[in-house]
């Protein structure tokens, strides 16, 4: 996928996020879903090796959404990548659906891991990356985390082991939007210098603007030196793209009213449906 196409994919994902958030009628994790869109469009549009016709393909790269509440940035990527169908996508938040507010492992839908409670994904990613090395497989393992999630001690347990094991086939991505459930991280756990923290644990870190597609692609493509695991610290804006949601903790988990939905569509440059259409 070329860069303009990745950009279009991100726009498509933002539109889908707004649509399903409004249509499902429940509160959703909008802020952290929107902040990760550009990174996800790079991952699914450019970086990840997969076969949409065969989600179980043995040689596929493995992707784990460790920040499990980030499904609004995940299911639209699976849709855009052709791994899940529009019909499946439309079941979001319905009773008994496969696509609910936290991912449930389903290899046929390209979902590698059940997540929701934080701090689990990196550990599983280590196991997968270790297994790949043992089997001589060249697939890569990607683990997408939230910065708030790094409050969990298990992340740092995993960070130590990944470096110790020299897992240069493992890439972690931190959605560094500097906000968490109860507000600004600086008022809760002040995670300064995320990249340096991982470096101190023996990782190779790439510190990038998480909304700059060129820079993101370059960060993913930069090989990790010295057999180190790699972390891409993506500086992002919570609620990115919808001005009244940006940097506003109220949109961490909230319900989209029709008025807000229309305002958000407008802000993103989409036509607002006529009354009666919506």
């Amino acid at each position: 996928m070329s860069f303009p196409e990745i950009d279009r994919m991100a726009t498509f994902m933002r539109r889908k996020i707004l649509d399903i958030s409004f249509e499902c009628g429940t509160s959703t994790h909008l802020g952290g879903g929107l902040s990760m869109v550009d990174v996800m469009s790079v991952i699914y549009g450019k970086v990840l090796r997969f076969d949409p016709a065969n989600p179980r393909w043995e040689e596929r790269d493995r992707f784990i959404l460790s920040k499990g509440h980030g499904v609004l940035g995940y299911y639209p990527a699976l849709l855009a990548a052709g791994i899940i169908s529009e019909d499946t996508f439309q079941t979001f938040q319905q009773n008994g659906s496969h696509l609910i507010a936290h991912p449930v492992m389903n290899l046929d839908l390209g979902i590698e891991s059940s997540n929701g409670s934080l701090g689990h994904g990196l550990s599983m990613g280590i196991g997968i990356a270790l297994a790949a090395k043992r089997k001589g497989k060249d697939f890569q393992t990607y683990v997408f985390m939230g910065d708030g999630e790094t409050n969990e001690g298990s992340i740092w347990e995993a960070a130590m082991l990944a470096a110790q094991q020299g897992l240069d086939n493992l890439t972690a991505i931190v959605d560094y939007n500097k906000m968490q459930s109860d507000g600004d991280s600086k008022d809760i756990i002040h995670v300064t210098n995320m990249a340096e923290r991982f470096q101190a644990f023996g990782w190779h870190a790439e510190d990038v603007d998480g909304h700059d597609i060129d820079r993101l692609v370059a960060a993913f493509e930069t090989p990790s030196p010295n057999g180190q695991p790699k972390v891409i610290v993506a500086h992002t804006v919570k609620g990115k793209g919808v001005p009244f949601m940006e940097h506003d903790g109220a949109w961490h988990h909230n319900r989209l009213t029709k008025t807000n939905y229309h305002a958000a569509l407008e802000a993103l440059g989409f036509d607002v449906p006529d009354e009666g259409d919506a």
């Binding site: 492992m105 590698e112 891991s113 059940s114 997540n115 929701g116 409670s117 701090g119 689990h120 994904g121 990196l122 550990s123 599983m124 990613g125 280590i126 196991g127 997968i128 990356a129 270790l130 297994a131 790949a132 043992r134 089997k135 001690g153 298990s154 347990e157 995993a158 130590m160 082991l161 110790q164």
Partner: protein, 323 residues
Amino acid sequence: MEINARSARQWSRLGPRGIFGQAILAVAEEHPDMMVLSADLGGSSGLERFRQAFPDQFLNTGIAEQNMIGVAAGLAKEGHNVFATSFSPFIAMRASEQIRMNLGYMEMNVKAVAIGSGVSMGLLGNSHFGLEDVAVMRAIPNMTVVSPADCAEVVQVVRAAAEFDGPMYIRLTGAAGACTPVYTEEYDFKISKADTLRTGSNVALIACGSMVSEALKTAEVLAEQGVAATVVNMHTIKPLDTDALDQLAGTHPAIVTIEEHSVVGGLGSAVAEYFAPKSDRAPHLSIGLPDEFVKAGEYGYILEQQGLTSAAISERVLNFLKD
């Protein structure tokens, strides 16, 4: 590893963790996909010889049990047959949410092995006791919970676990030199199939782990008092062998469960939960550790203090049968 009277005697001196290490070494030959993980307790878990023999199949994840379970799940996801080991409270409780998410929810092929469960860590105190582990593990859907009765059964359980595809919690109780052999010959061990060791019509003693041998001794004491007891080794606590329970309830006027676990949530609770909705259930006495942190001491001292010896158990059973 052949099970016979001689090996049973020798293994008993070594204790369950030493035997676990030997058993995993023996089965690893046939399982090149096996990985054994330890949270920096490889030596304490009898795994030193395994580490030397199969360095590529052993991984010390460091003192980080939560991460160990996640790593185990990732390895299992890619086709490895994984045994993850630590002391009971650190694996069953500290990493219980990881076990719930990674092993229960995702049904990963990982065996979580709890070394030194019950009170076998003696003078190390309650921080190291495993008295709530069965309660936690059996509450997690998809978990199979197994507690071998003696060192020979540890060997049988490891063999069976290596062939079993799915998450399992293996609870090792008893201490080196303090394990009375229950089994002195090869036998047909099957996960979830209780083993009847002795039959009698007056009372059914259902035990697991270290308390199976104590239940057999209790049956001897009861026999001297004219009370004939059936003794059942309920090595699999989840899923329970309910056919065996139905048969016992239909043929015995009283049931006693005996375990080296808190009376809250263990084998006794599991059996009581099964019988609760049945109208013709037999009276049930649940013997285990009290719902409190107990005084530490040598293994035998704690069992004695807590009434988990055949002398104390038989007295309680006789009083129960009188009521």
